[in-house]
């Protein structure tokens, strides 16, 4: 086990919020077709409010702080916030489209000791990438920024999302990452809107493309192992918790709303009204999230995939029940192993769905920032 994983476990035992994603704004200079956010500013936290929150988070033991958005560089006080966060010795990860990063910004990020910068790149071809971001010239500018960052010796992670528009491009996009000296992650899914609107899910690729990705050894390592039938459920798995959300990780929106995860919109409080640590320790919603074990999940505890599934409780919540299955993960488990989940089988019985329907991906897994080759619920941490 890596030292980081060990520390994650220790944080779990101690009940420490080890990793937090803080979105500084939902405003953005790109208008990506698959984006799940409402980009209007509904009253972002001020610089002073964010600084207070950062002090509270440092006192609570937060180590990894991911600053994301929207586009973080649209905040005029971005460097003031970053400098403050670094003075509080957080390990900082940034998520950005990098369009606004030039030489001077890259040098400043290096000086401030940022751990890594994740940059969304959807294709190696400008006509494809720019059509997704709806910002002409965005690929050229993002690539230029990656070069600036790399020349400062900074770690860059190129994050791609698989969609119908770019599904044939991912091998060349990966080659571009290699050429630039960046790491590469591929998210095989599109996430529903924060308000639960699922229209964007039409952008998801079909089952055969997903299968191809799951068998691509440059992404998943040993494909036979990755696609192997699930292990039988044992007592340990039955007592396991689904993921880090609410256990060692959480998310705070630009408006101060506190959620277990960026993909789990169950409001647990607001840091404008309560202190961060008060919400972390006393929120009834968080207590409920923490109480859930696999054995409490009626479908998943009966499912062949139960012990190895990447089931996202946030997506299950968006489907209406945080103790229910996440159809996205059922579809993914099926595409990966060819074995239908308990949920799909039940649906099939109920709706008399023909087997052909089962192999259609309507909603595929939606785990933001997870490396495909590390796809397990344990890996789905904000620290990934």
């Amino acid at each position: 086990m890596s030292l980081m994983a060990e520390m994650g476990e220790r944080a779990h035992r101690l009940g420490v919020p080890f990793s937090v994603q803080l979105d500084l704004t939902y405003r953005c200079n790109e208008q990506c077709v698959h984006c799940y956010l409402d980009h209007h500013d509904h009253g972002e936290m001020t610089t002073a409010e964010i600084k207070k929150l950062l002090r509270e988070m440092a006192d609570a033991g937060v180590f990894i702080l991911t600053l994301s958005g929207g586009e973080i560089f649209l905040r005029k006080d971005f460097f003031e916030i970053l400098e403050y966060a670094r003075a509080l010795t957080f390990c900082i990860k940034l998520k950005t489209n990098a369009v606004l990063i030039r030489e001077a910004q890259a040098a400043r990020l290096r000086d401030l000791g940022v751990e890594s910068i994740q940059i969304s790149i959807y294709s190696h071809r400008p006509e494809v990438h720019d059509a997704i971001t709806k910002l002409p010239g965005s690929l050229r500018r993002s690539i230029k920024a990656i070069r600036f960052l790399r020349s400062q010796g900074l770690k860059v992670v190129m994050a791609n999302v698989l969609m119908t528009q770019n599904m044939d491009d991912y091998p060349s996009t990966r080659a571009l990452a290699d050429e630039l000296g960046a790491e590469y992650t591929l998210d095989p899914t599109v996430t529903p809107m924060m308000d639960g609107d699922r229209a964007v899910l039409d952008l998801n690729v079909g089952e055969s493309a997903l299968r191809r990705v799951f068998r691509d050894e440059t992404l998943v390592g040993n494909a036979d192992e990755f696609c192997a039938p699930p292990r039988p459920l044992d007592d340990d798995s039955m007592d396991s918790t689904p993921c880090s959300a609410g256990h060692t990780a959480c998310y705070v929106s630009p408006y101060g709303e506190f959620y277990p995860c960026v993909q789990f919109p169950l409001s647990c409080g607001n840091v404008r009204q309560q202190s961060f640590i008060d919400i972390w320790h006393n929120s009834e919603q968080l207590k409920e999230v923490r109480s859930i074990r696999l054995r409490d999940l009626s479908s998943c505890s009966q499912c062949a995939h139960g012990g190895s599934c990447t089931r996202c409780p946030g997506l299950a919540f968006l489907e209406g029940n945080m103790r229910g299955p996440s159809t996205a993960d059922c579809e993914r488990s099926f595409a990966r192993t060819g074995i239908p989940s308990a949920n799909l089988l039940a649906k099939k019985d109920k709706d008399k769905v023909s087997p052909a329907r089962l192999v259609q991906i309507q909603l595929v897994p939606v785990i933001t920032g997870v490396r495909l080759l590390e796809m397990s619920s344990a890996a789905c941490t904000l620290a990934s």
Binding site: G61, F63, Y84, A87, E115
Partner: protein, 107 residues
């Protein structure tokens, strides 16, 4: 060693206390370390103004059962080790804080 040594926490590292241990990540190569209790005491006291000898006398000998000679030798080894990993700055002259105003604000 008879020279006075000043030690300061590197501004390019991330750090947080987790239970008994101090977690430290150096920006160079994203390497993660944990410091044991003695190393944590030394690291926390490394303000760039206090000498290593003073830190050992005031913070280590008083809290841990060690002779001053052993303690100073261990502390020098430790400081050298931490410096090699970019966690600690070591100098024969005091090391000024990079941003004293900000340091004051977060206190």
């Amino acid at each position: 060693m008879n020279k006075k040594l000043y030690v300061a926490r590197s501004p390019r590292i991330a750090a947080r206390q987790l239970g008994e241990e101090m977690l430290v990540m150096s920006a160079q190569g994203s390497t993660l370390f944990t410091l044991n209790q003695t190393a944590t005491v030394l690291w926390q006291a490394a303000d760039g103004k206090t000498t290593l000898e003073e830190i050992v006398e005031r913070r280590i000998c008083s809290e841990f059962e060690v002779t001053p000679e052993d303690a100073i030798r261990d502390a020098e080894d430790l400081a050298e080790d931490l410096a090699k990993h970019g966690i600690l700055l070591v100098s024969e002259i005091p090391i000024p804080s990079r941003d004293p105003v900000l340091q004051e604000q977060i206190r």
